[in-house]
Each structure stands twice: as structure tokens, then as C-alpha cells.
Subunit: 427 residues, 2 copies
């Protein structure tokens, strides 16, 4: 029995995701597909466009056999932390043979070489990285340039434009981080890059069979859209037909949810921090400089997105600032992260959904891993350590806030986190 793991957001699910799942099965000849999926908050520091239960239901319809939730502590963090948490989750299941991921480039040798450069901190790379950072360039851009420099010294026969294209796309950055995480953790999972057919991450192109998730989100955000019918035709070309009914049913009941729906909530935290002189430099992934910057500008806060635009700079990206504003809302601290890291990153596997035909996979996980599989939130706290409870609490707080924002936006009541069972697909 072979199992392949995929790390995903499905925010929302589209034909590119369906292709990835199909290819992953085909290339690895796997019997089971497990997806570790971001919960209600995603990597670029935003609420998920669509809640995790809807996305799980769609994934199960599209040949995913088991969906586990990537805790918010990792799902909404920069590429390296995201990859570390997600790879650790798949690895500790002790049943996953392959990790498949979409990538602009499926040259595993090249990806491995780049991972080597970063892990080994080769001299040329390290020096170049430092010198780019000193110019005030952001970390990700500095790293990209340092990698290109180091690759060209090693005689990689590609133009720096070509390399830049491969290295700088968000998917490639994640792909490299997955490989680094596998290598660093000593995982036996085999990385399998799959060349993406869909449009790039940032593409807003909606023509043809493949479109990026961000293009789909944009489609819903257009001011002229008042009914689902306005997007129905375009959408049916770029998402699997089996999603359409669910997407139509849930529209303006549970989605779309966007960052600005959290504007007063995040603003309230900034107001409180200001009046109570709360230290914010203990939040995860913040520096003293960034804490000061946010604090100094917080008086001008009116709404989430515009404030992020006010705060960002060549050093501090919009995504990073967005994430930190949510960490402030959830009070996710450096101490939290380093405790989790010290204890191996993973305290539980939260099952969001599974295909009953692959029930044996759950049994196999229970046999192979000591880490508890959580199928019912209300029972979870009794089996977790203090730090495990803390990780779950941050997630549940985030989920409860997401739910209230959704109810407030659409005036549509949805079950509480504790009332959702696992979504079971029974063919």
C-alpha cells in the first residue's frame, strides 16, 4: 500500500488542484491520497476565502481520501514555517511515502541543488545573502538573488531570468521549502514535483481550463457581481463540475470572506495595544523594528487592507504584516512557536474529512503513529498535553472568530466548531 501526501489550501479548489491530485496518483501509483489543508487562515496572512468545511467537502469529491487540518500556527506563516509544519504533519503520520507538490519546474535535481545551497549555507550564497540584505532588500528577494548567484557559480546552465522565474514564484518557494523540511527532519518521504499547468499564482487570467485561485477569488470580488449567476458560466470552466452545486449553495452564506471583514476586530486590538502600552514585539515572526513600525502607524488605521498598504516596505512584505496583525488578534507569540518547535511541531492530527472507502488509512495511521487523530473536538482536550491544548486553543479561537465574522457578514447561522463532525464521503 502506497500513500501520497499533498499540502494545499484549496482556496478555492480548481481544475489545477484536480490535475495535481490525478498526477500525484499516477506518478506515484499510490493507493491513498492524504491532503494536509490550511484551516480558516491561509499563508499570505488572510482568512480563507471559503471556510475549511466547504473546502474539505469539495476535496473529498475530487479524489482526496483524507483531509487533515494544518493548524493555524503553521497555515498562516511564512513559507519556511508553513512547510516545516505541514511536512512534519505528513511525516509523523508514519504512513506517507511521497510528497507531491505543484511547481513551475519539475526538475528535482535543480530543486535539490537549491535546497543544498540553502541548507549547507554555502559560502558564496551566505555572503551574497548578507550583502543583498544590507541594501534593505526583503529576505525573500535577497535569498532569491543569492541562490541565482550561487547556482551560476556552480555552472547551472540557465539564464538568471529563467532561474528567477523558477525560484521566485510562491509555489516554487514552497517547493524548495518542502524539500528543505524533508531533508532537515530526516523524513523518508520522497519529494515529487509536478509541473503546474494552471496559470501562475498571481495570474488573473480566467481563459481556458486552468486559472489561479487568486483569479477565482477576484472573480467573486468584482463590484458588479450580485448573484451567483454572474460568475456561474466562467466558474464552470475552471472548477470541477462536482463543486458547482455546493459553491452555488454556499455563496453569500459562508463565503466569500476577505481580510477587510476583520477590519474592526484587528483595529480594536491595535487600539487596545496603544492604550494599554501592550508589548507587541513578543508576537510570532515580529522584530522590534516591525513592532515599532506597526505601533507608530496604528493611529491611522481605518481598515485592514489599507493599513497593510500603509505599513509595508521593501523589508516588510504585505503578507508578513497581514500575518502579524492576525497573530495580534489570536495572540500567537514567539514563545508559542518555539515551544511547539522544541516538542516536534505536531501534537495532533485533526481529521476534517475522509472517504469511507479508505477507512483503512485511518487504522493504519493509528497503528503507525503515537500522535492522536482528532475526529471530535470536544474530546480532544482530554488527550492533549498543555502545549498541545495551547496549539488547539489558538486554532479554535481563530475558528470561532472566523465564524462570527461570517455570521455577521451574511446573517446566516452556521454550526459551531464543536458541532461539525468529520465530513465523511460514502460513495
Amino acid at each position: 500500500m502506497k500513500t501520497v501526501g499533498i499540502i494545499a489550501e484549496f482556496n478555492p479548489f480548481h481544475n489545477g488542484h484536480a490535475y495535481l491530485i490525478e498526477k500525484a496518483r499516477e506518478l506515484t501509483n499510490a493507493d491513498h491520497v492524504i491532503v494536509v489543508m490550511s484551516g480558516n487562515f491561509v499563508q499570505r496572512g488572510a482568512p480563507a476565502f471559503m471556510d475549511k468545511f466547504t473546502r474539505t467537502a469539495i476535496a473529498l469529491e475530487n479524489n482526496v481520501d483524507l483531509v487533515l487540518e494544518l493548524p493555524v500556527c503553521y497555515s498562516m506563516s511564512s513559507a519556511a514555517y508553513f512547510a516545516t509544519g505541514a511536512v512534519a504533519t505528513l511525516d509523523k503520520l508514519n504512513v506517507v511515502d511521497y510528497l507531491c507538490f505543484g511547481c513551475e519546474n519539475d526538475n528535482l535535481d535543480l530543486l535539490n541543488l537549491i535546497a543544498d545551497i540553502i541548507i549547507d549555507e554555502d559560502e558564496c550564497y551566505s555572503e551574497a545573502l548578507q550583502s543583498y540584505l544590507k541594501t534593505g532588500m526583503s529576505f525573500s528577494r535577497s535569498r532569491e538573488n543569492a541562490i541565482i548567484k550561487s547556482l551560476s557559480l556552480r555552472g547551472v546552465n540557465m539564464s538568471s531570468d529563467e532561474l528567477s522565474l523558477i525560484i521566485s514564484s510562491p509555489n516554487s518557494i514552497l517547493a524548495i521549502e518542502y524539500i528543505i523540511s524533508i531533508r532537515k527532519s530526516g523524513s523518508k518521504m520522497v519529494p515529487v514535483p509536478i509541473k503546474r499547468l494552471d496559470k501562475g499564482y498571481h495570474s488573473s487570467d480566467l481563459d481556458g481550463h486552468f486559472a489561479s485561485a487568486s483569479a477565482i477569488r477576484k472573480l467573486f470580488g468584482g463590484k458588479s457581481i450580485f448573484t451567483f449567476n454572474n460568475v456561474k458560466e466562467t466558474l464552470s470552466d475552471i472548477v470541477p463540475a462536482n463543486c458547482m452545486e455546493l459553491l452555488e449553495n454556499e455563496y453569500k452564506k459562508t463565503y466569500p470572506i476577505v481580510s477587510d471583514d476583520f477590519s474592526p476586530l484587528v483595529g480594536n486590538e491595535l487600539i487596545k495595544a496603544r492604550y494599554n502600552n501592550t508589548e507587541t514585539n513578543n508576537l510570532f515572526d515580529i522584530t522590534d523594528d516591525l513592532a515599532n513600525r506597526i505601533s507608530n502607524l496604528s493611529g491611522s488605521y481605518e481598515a485592514f487592507d489599507s493599513f497593510v498598504n500603509t505599513c509595508n516596505s521593501s523589508i516588510f512584505t504585505s503578507s508578513r504584516i497581514s500575518r502579524i496583525l492576525f497573530y495580534l488578534l489570536f495572540n500567537y507569540t514567539k514563545d508559542d512557536y518555539f515551544t511547539f518547535k522544541d516538542e516536534g511541531y505536531v501534537y495532533y492530527f485533526r481529521v476534517l474529512g475522509f472517504n469511507k472507502a479508505h477507512n483503512s488509512l485511518l487504522t493504519e495511521i493509528k497503528t503507525n503513529s503515537d500522535i492522536p487523530l482528532i475526529t471530535k473536538i470536544s474530546n480532544a482536550f482530554s488527550v492533549l498535553s498543555e502545549n498541545g491544548k495551547r496549539m488547539l486553543s489558538i486554532n479554535m479561537m481563530a475558528d470561532e472568530i472566523y465564524r462570527l465574522v461570517s455570521i455577521d457578514k451574511y446573517n446566516f447561522s452556521i454550526p459551531k466548531e464543536q458541532q461539525y463532525g468529520v465530513i465523511i464521503k460514502d460513495e
Copy 2:
């Protein structure tokens, strides 16, 4: 030079308020009218329907010469605390001769007698109060019944139905509390009740020249209203003509604001209190029982109003629960209140607006009172004691949150609290 004080919410301003101001001038022959007006949060535990600056501008158009803000610590509290704070504010100006208030009944002897019964805690009243409370009746209802019992023993020649009508209306309750506060503080202000011509507090009747503020708020809340034109004709009968343009301009820019606009914010506080095991029994005006009740029910929270309905009981009124939910949002504690009380309730007079023709009134206040007049928020902190700063901070936090909620609701940018100057009417 005579000055009359009025305590008001003007939420929103209507012909009944204009009548009260006119009568107050007429009965007292006063040269100046000062209004102590609730800021952005009102007595029944709700955000003001219309922000304080708009209400100030309207008041100045309607023969109010000076508008001072009643701090949120008093403006959003039960009748006794509300009255104490407002009367102390007027009294400490050291320029106010009369306190005029609207009341279902303008029999000052009767109002004084009721105040006597309460202040002196006459035996019959105290025993009756205790026995009603023991039946599980709310405090206000128990007190009303005890007063009626005590009055009838003193031979007050009115049916208990008539008395109940006089005592139980929110305006009469406040009237009695004003008299009690004047008496207890030893103020020299002379109470002047003015019989209300407008419809009762809770009346939703919109016929004729007078309507209650709640009826007007309801008019705007109707689901069928999409443009100001729908309410224009009805409104022009019940509010002064000089408001109409401002009301039309501000509609769906800064008002209406309702409790449910604060749903996610208050829900977020309840979620945090639950996950962090925060003590909530130190909030102002809460009992351990009520803290437990709110905490136990908080898991079912979806929106503000529905949660208040879930929590209320014969003992704990909706208004009280609403207020406490906002105290939780602003972190206004028992300690805060008792510190303020110990220090005499009033740290500053915040000027919201004045009529330039009555400039001399400001000079007179500066001459007669040691308490600073605040006309510019940014300068205020330097002249206040620690506890004065705390009172102003609670108010400013509340204002900043109100502003963010308003911007979020109408996507219309409004100045920050610090950017508003005093509104000056220059005829």
C-alpha cells in the same frame, strides 16, 4: 446671569427635545442652556444611533449654547450611576442654577417625596424592597413596587396604576435619580421637571408632531428603507426642520449605528475570556452570578442582540447585560468606577460644541471651576491626573472602536477623535 442645565442623549434629536429646551428657558428665564450629552454610547447599553458630533451640531442649531460630553463611564450605565455622573458634571461647573428634565409628571412635591423615601430608606420602603427582591424580581421593578407601597402608606392620593405609570417610565426613573443626586451631592441646582408632550419612551407611534427617539430609530431600521427619501416626509413632521439637511447628508455615512454592528467585536471578547479563563466578575456593575451566567451562555453567542435575549432574565435586564458586554469590550471595571467616585466623579469637561454668542459662558466656567475644560483632546492628557487620564482613555478607546465600526459599515472615512475640533456655532 442665569444658566439652566439639561442632561440628554438626543439619540436622535426630535421636537420633544426642542420643546424641552424652549420650556427650560421659559420656566427658568435662563440666559444660557448647557447640555451634558451622552457620547457615543447610551444608557440602555447601546452605541448611539448617531455619532456625538452630528448630535452636537443639531443641538447647537436648536438653542443649546454649550454641549459637554458625559463620559462613557456614566453615559452607558444604569439610571443611578448615569444621574450621579451627569449631575456631578453640571454641578461642578459652578455656573448652573437649574436642572431641567422631561418627565411624565411635573409634580415636584411628589418627585421630592419619592426621593425622600429612597434616600432616607424609610422602613416600609426598605422592607418592601427586600421582600420583592427575594421573589426574584429585578431591582428596578422591586423598587417601583416598594415606592408605591410606601407612598400609599403616606396617604398619597393616587391609584397604584397611576403611580406605576409615573414611576416606571425611564424618564421618571431618571428624574427621581436626578433629584436624589442633587440632594446627595448637596448641589445648589434647582430641579425643574417639565411635563413631556412627546410620546412615551417606548412608544413607536409616529403620528403627530411628537415621537419618541426610539420610534425614530425604528423608522430607520425598517427593512424596506433603502434611501433617505423613504423616511423624509415622516421625519420632517417629528424633528426640527433645521436638522433635515444634516440628517440627509449623514445618512448611511455615519449613521444608523446599532448594537449588532458590534457583534463580532463583543463576541471576540467573550471567546478570549473563555479561552484565557479571564475573570469577568471585576467588570463594573456585574455580580458573580451574572458573570457566571454570561460565561456559561457565551458558547452560544452568534450576535449581540440575540445573545442579550439569551442572557436576560427577571433579575438581569437586557439593558444591564448589554452594558456589561460593552464594559467587557472597553475593560471598564468596578475598580475604575469606585476610584472615580472616591475622587468626586469629574476630572474634566469635554466641550463638544458651543454657540459663539455664548462665549462668556466658557469664561464664566473657567473662572468658577477648577476642573479643566477640554477643547482639544491632544492637549488633554497633559493636564489630567492618572485617574483622569484613565477616564479619558476609556472614552477615547470607546470612540475609536465606534469610529472603526462606522467606517466598516458604511465604507465612509471619518476624522479621528483627535481631529475633531469643538463644533462652534457662529450666527
